[in-house]
């Protein structure tokens, strides 16, 4: 188990709970200051927090940008349009 530290008004476990909001810049000012004060003196949280933040950034860049997949698009469009045409033919019969 982690040997928790109390710094900046927060325990390490409390900083852990706030980590996602912290990396997403969604913490209110007071909480942000507390987290910053905590990681300034707690090496465990500072190191893990930095790694966590990098992981979140890398997750976005690790995957191919959302570019159009021509082959998939063609298959999807052909199938959908065929089915729409079939439905239209059925209603006109």
């Amino acid at each position: 188990m982690l040997n928790e530290r109390f710094a900046g008004g927060l325990l390490c476990s409390q900083v852990l709970n706030l980590l996602t909001s912290y990396v997403d810049s969604e913490l209110p000012p007071e909480a942000l200051m507390q987290v910053q004060d905590h990681v300034a003196v707690c090496q465990n949280c500072a190191r893990f927090g930095a790694s966590f933040h990098l992981l979140v950034r890398c997750t976005a860049s690790a995957h191919a940008s959302l570019t159009e997949n021509s082959a998939s698009l063609h298959r999807i469009l052909c199938s959908v349009e065929r089915r729409l045409d079939q439905a239209l033919d059925q209603t006109q019969d």
Partner: protein, 226 residues
């Protein structure tokens, strides 16, 4: 059958359209063409859906082309494979075509579409779904991710190995892959992600935090076997 004119021609004729809603079989007048077209002349998602509701196949094709990457990515995240994801994408667009006239404009068009895609995808996996249960305590998850360890930088190093990151992602439950896709990969705002998932924002954040920690733990584990 009424003649369907391309939306651009409708604009030239001075017809105004409401970008927010479309009645079944009709269009609410109230908005302007400017609200549906960017300065560059590219039709907005709303405009394309509006035209789709009128049966405009060209607009529908443009709508599919524009939104297909996001739909397919989400479906792959939930289903774990491209073949099933394409099937789901087809069902999604059929549902979107049929439901275009009922779109009320209370969410962005892409949000509406992704909700449809998500429903289709989860329906597809309903039989083989492994629901999230017996969730470990957050701290246990964090410890597995390297919190408090001697080498928390391991996940930072491994995260720069894109292949390892994709492997780690593939090992996660579908619910976590789904939220990571929407928030971190597609970069959608938290409120939009919450809407697509049908969650409150706090619940979305909680799931996102677990998903990120799970990814870190999966990545860390991958590093020991690499």
């Amino acid at each position: 059958m009424p003649v369907v004119l391309p939306v651009r021609i409708l604009y030239m004729l001075g017809e105004t359209v409401n970008s927010g809603g479309v009645n079944n079989g009709g269009v609410n007048n109230g908005g302007t063409a400017d609200s549906l077209e960017s300065p560059a002349g590219v039709l907005s998602d709303d405009a394309l859906l509006l035209a789709t509701a009128r049966g405009d196949r060209d607009a529908f094709r443009a709508f599919v082309t524009r939104t297909q990457p996001a739909v397919l990515q989400l479906a792959i995240a939930i289903l774990g494979n491209s073949a099933d994801a394409e099937d789901v994408a087809q069902e999604t667009y059929l549902a979107a075509f049929r439901g275009a006239a009922q779109f009320r404009g209370d969410a962005a068009v892409l949000t509406w579409l992704l909700k449809i895609a998500r429903r289709q995808a989860w329906h597809h996996v309903a039989r083989r779904r492994e629901p999230l249960r017996d969730l470990p305590a957050l701290e246990a998850l964090a410890l597995a991710a390297g919190w408090g360890s001697e080498d928390p930088e391991r996940i930072a190093l491994r995260s720069q190995d894109h292949a390892a990151l994709r492997r780690a992602l593939s090992r996660l439950p579908s619910e976590y892959r789904e939220i990571l896709n929407l928030r971190d990969i597609q970069g959608m705002p938290g409120t939009t992600v919450a809407t697509v998932l049908g969650l409150s924002v706090p619940a979305m954040k909680s799931r996102l935090h677990r998903a990120r920690l799970s990814l870190a733990a999966s990545l860390r584990e991958d590093g020991y076997h690499a």
